[in-house]
Structures are given as structure tokens and as C-alpha cells.
């Protein structure tokens, strides 16, 4: 079957089998390997991407179901050479160790801050509760998201420059 969707702002079209899962469509048909594929059972959440701005587990969505919709992956977080505050936050607060859960965590975090720019720690923990960090680095993931909340996009650049100057 033929599918057409927007991925990170670009329209893509492919002929696929209906049984292709979105995670494999992104990785294998489009070469966007930033979206990781983990448990296959919608438990681990490493495959989280956004469909129409909402985080979903892409191992449990058919690519066919995303036909006509807008998908955003970790590759779409950086815009015009500027990293998203979420990405900056994960760097500032050491939000990753092995990095396997990181793309999914960041897409969920971005969706959370888009809706709720100042979440409490409890709200952050609830938002990522369907995702597993097998390094168990949850405390730093929460702090990374808090950093991003404290440094929204319009000030992220200047903050980075300030700190570069200090360094």
C-alpha cells in the first residue's frame, strides 16, 4: 500500500506492506535510526515518537495508521542547527548514560513541555512512567527536563553562550 506522511516537516511517500510498524518504517524505510526499537511489546517506550504532537509508542502503531499524519522523531528536535532545550537539558544534567532510552524520553519531554511549560517533578515522573531507563538514571532524566523547563527555546541560545563564555 502507499503511505504519505510528514516526518520532521518533510513529506515522505513509500510503498509498504500494511504490517510494517511505524518504528521499522522510520528506521528502515527512511533511515531515521534515532528512533530506537526495544521491547516490541509497548512496555519500554524507547520507540516513542510524536504523531500530531502526541507521544506514541511507534512499535505499536502501524505505519499505515500514520498515513496522512505528522510524525516527529528525535532527528526533528534540532532546528536550523540549534538543539532543542530538551536536548541541551540532557547534556547539562547528564540525562543519559547508555543513551538507548534517550530519544523516546526526549520526545515525551518535548510534548510535556509544549502542553505544560512548568511541570512539577511529579508531573514529569508521571509523563515518563511508561518508559524504562535500564541504566536507572531517572533522577538525572527528571533534572534534564526541569532544566529544559527553566530554559525555554528563546533563551536557550543565550544561556549556552553565557556558559561558553564562563567556561
Amino acid at each position: 500500500m502507499h503511505v504519505t506522511m510528514t516526518v520532521n516537516g518533510d513529506e515522505v511517500e513509500r510503498d509498504i506492506e500494511p504490517r510494517v510498524l511505524l518504528v521499522h518504517f522510520l528506521r528502515e524505510n527512511l533511515g531515521l535510526t534515532g528512533t530506537h526499537w526495544g521491547c516490541d511489546t509497548s512496555n519500554c517506550g524507547t520507540c516513542v515518537v510524536q504523531i500530531d504532537g502526541e507521544p506514541v509508542k511507534s512499535c505499536t502503531v502501524l505505519a499505515a495508521m500514520a498515513d496522512g499524519h505528522a510524525v516527529r522523531t528525535v532527528e526533528g528536535l534540532e532546528v536550523a542547527g540549534t538543539v532543542d532545550p530538551i536536548q541541551q537539558g540532557f547534556m547539562e544534567e547528564h540525562g543519559l548514560q547508555c543513551g538507548f532510552c534517550t530519544p523516546g524520553m526526549m520526545l515525551t519531554a518535548r510534548a510535556l513541555l509544549d502542553e505544560n511549560p512548568h511541570p512539577s517533578e511529579g508531573e514529569i515522573r508521571e509523563a515518563i512512567s511508561g518508559q524504562i531507563c535500564r541504566c536507572t538514571g531517572y533522577a538525572t532524566i527528571v533534572r534534564s527536563i526541569q532544566w529544559a523547563a527553566d530554559h525555554p527555546a528563546e533563551t536557550a541560545d543565550s544561556t549556552l553562550e553565557d556558559e561558553d563564555v564562563k567556561a
Binding site: 500500500m1 506492506e17 500494511p18 504490517r19 510494517v20 510498524l21 521499522h24 526499537w37 516490541d40 511489546t41 509497548s42 512496555n43 517506550g45 516513542v48 502526541e54 507521544p55 506514541v56 509508542k57 505499536t60 502503531v61 502501524l62 499505515a64 495508521m65 498515513d67 515525551t108 508521571e126 509523563a127 512512567s129 511508561g130 518508559q131
Partner: protein, 291 residues
């Protein structure tokens, strides 16, 4: 890599179109809504439909609407929408309690009330909630709508009264004065199946006695309401001793299996304890003493 077996895919453009597609492709077609139960089953070959009929474009089945003394919920209403509904919280807090613990927040973005009920998993929370609330299910087929109660809707694990060429379109909850409800689940971690859960709904008479009581449990081998425990409370003013007795009777009535989530004794204990907790909370809410 777990991939479903090959199938053909069609998107329904209306409820009637969905019914027509289901009729055309017969018993080997399966409806997909959120897909978070069906796709894992297809990966494991526990389900192997030849046709998958996607109903996610049927936005007119995504609503929460008050109609007289009923709250009507479209079958395609997402778990997240139910969880965030102030109207649902004020009228049926048991739904909000349950939605808070259905799967995880990401799955709740996709999963639907209709999908949960039609999946009819024995560990499924909303089946218990709808049973306790005496919900009605509206099922659409080629001949039009039919409306049935939950006791008729549930046929057993993974089986419902929805025929292969029909679509569940709406869930109706009756709004009763002087009533409230509660749900509580014990799970090992977010997103796991329940070890056990219990739900209760109570309605007071004018004189402060309990006019009606409904108790239901999840994942402990009992689909219907716990009539023996309800009888202890009905017609009486609520008391701690009656609540304790209702819990004890629920623990006796359930028929759980021992598995990695717990022993039979532990699950009976949970059925007892959780029943007491949800009764206390439903009563306190109906009396305006607790949110």
C-alpha cells in the same frame, strides 16, 4: 523482531462504512482503534486477521456528552480524554481512578474505551468500571443500533456480544443523585497487568441508608458483580463493620489463579482490602466528605 503476519488494511470512513467492511471481509477482519492490545496479539500470532479495519478516522465517535440523566461516551474516546475530563471526574470518579492506572500515559494517548471493552481482557480495568456502573453498550450493525447491559456484553475472556459485523459505538452511564464511586488497583509497576483491583459504586436513599451498592473486581477470576458483599450493605446505613464484612465476602467470592504476580491467598487478601478501600472512598465521596 516481532512483526504481525501479513494482512490487508482498510480505513473506515464512517460507522456504516466500517460495518460494511466488516460484513464484506467476515470473521477474518478485525477492527483496530488504539491498537495497543491487538497489535501485540498479532505479533505473537494470538490474533491473525486477514483484514484490519482502522476506525481512527471516525472522529464522530470521540465524545463525552451529557444527555438528560445519562453520560454518553463515544467508543473512540481515548483514555487520556476520559482521564482529563472534569465532567467524568465529578459524575463518575471511578472512571478517573481507573484511567489513572490504565497502562501508562503514552498508551493512554492511543487506547480507547471501546477498544478496552471489546478486548475484554480479564485484567482490563474499564470492564469492571462499566460493570459496577451498570453501563449500557450501544452496538451498531447493518440493522441499526442495539443497546445491551454489561452482563450481556461480556461473554467471557476476550469475548463480547459484539458480532464480527458490528461495531461498539457508545457507552452510556446513568447519572444518579446521592451517589459516587471509586476504583483502586495494585500493580507491580506502571503498565503491568493488575495483581488485583476493585471498584465500587454507592447510591444513598434520602434517609442516609444505602439504596444501592455495586462491587466489582478485576483480574481475580470474577466477571460479575459481587452480590453477596453488596447485600451486606444495601438498605443499611454504612458502617465500618459492614464494610469489613463486604470485603471479607469479596475475598471469599473471588477465584484467582496463582501466578508470578502473587499467590491465591495474596490475591484474596487484595480483593478484600481493595474492596473495603473503594467502598469507604465511594461512600465518603457520595457524602461530600472526600473528592
Amino acid at each position: 523482531m516481532q512483526i504481525p503476519a501479513p494482512f490487508d488494511y482498510a480505513r473506515a470512513t464512517s460507522v456504516d462504512d466500517a460495518v460494511a467492511l466488516l460484513t464484506r471481509y467476515g470473521e477474518d477482519a478485525h477492527v483496530i482503534a488504539g491498537g495497543h492490545s491487538l497489535l501485540p496479539m498479532m505479533k505473537l500470532r494470538l490474533a491473525r486477521p486477514d483484514w484490519v479495519i482502522d476506525i481512527n478516522d471516525l472522529h464522530d465517535l470521540d465524545y463525552i456528552r451529557r444527555d438528560g440523566d445519562q453520560l454518553r461516551i463515544g467508543a473512540l474516546t481515548r483514555h487520556r480524554t476520559l482521564l482529563e475530563s472534569a465532567e467524568v471526574l465529578s459524575l463518575f470518579p471511578i472512571v478517573t481512578d481507573a484511567e489513572r492506572v490504565v497502562a501508562d500515559p503514552i498508551v493512554r494517548n492511543r487506547g480507547t474505551i471501546g477498544g478496552s471493552l471489546c478486548q475484554a481482557d480479564p485484567a482490563e480495568d474499564l470492564s469492571t468500571v462499566c460493570t459496577v456502573l451498570g453501563a449500557e453498550a450501544v452496538i451498531h450493525g447493518a440493522a441499526g443500533d442495539r443497546t445491551i447491559g454489561m452482563e450481556e456484553f461480556h461473554r467471557g475472556p476476550y469475548e463480547t456480544a459484539v458480532a464480527f459485523n458490528e461495531l461498539l459505538t457508545e457507552v452510556r452511564l446513568t447519572i444518579r443523585p446521592r451517589s459516587s464511586s471509586a476504583y483502586e488497583k495494585v500493580e507491580r509497576r506502571v503498565g503491568d497487568w493488575a495483581v488485583a483491583a476493585a471498584g465500587a459504586a454507592v447510591t444513598f436513599a434520602d434517609d442516609g441508608t444505602l439504596d444501592d451498592v455495586a462491587i466489582g473486581v478485576t483480574a481475580v477470576g470474577l466477571v460479575n458483580r459481587v452480590a453477596s458483599a453488596e447485600a451486606v450493605l444495601r438498605g443499611e446505613k454504612p458502617s465500618e463493620s459492614a464494610i469489613a464484612e463486604a470485603g471479607r465476602l469479596t475475598g471469599e467470592a473471588v477465584d484467582p489463579d496463582a501466578d508470578q504476580r502473587g499467590s491465591v491467598e495474596y490475591k484474596r487478601h487484595l480483593a478484600n482490602e481493595l474492596t473495603q478501600r473503594v467502598l469507604r472512598r465511594a461512600i465518603a465521596r457520595a457524602q461530600g466528605l472526600e473528592a
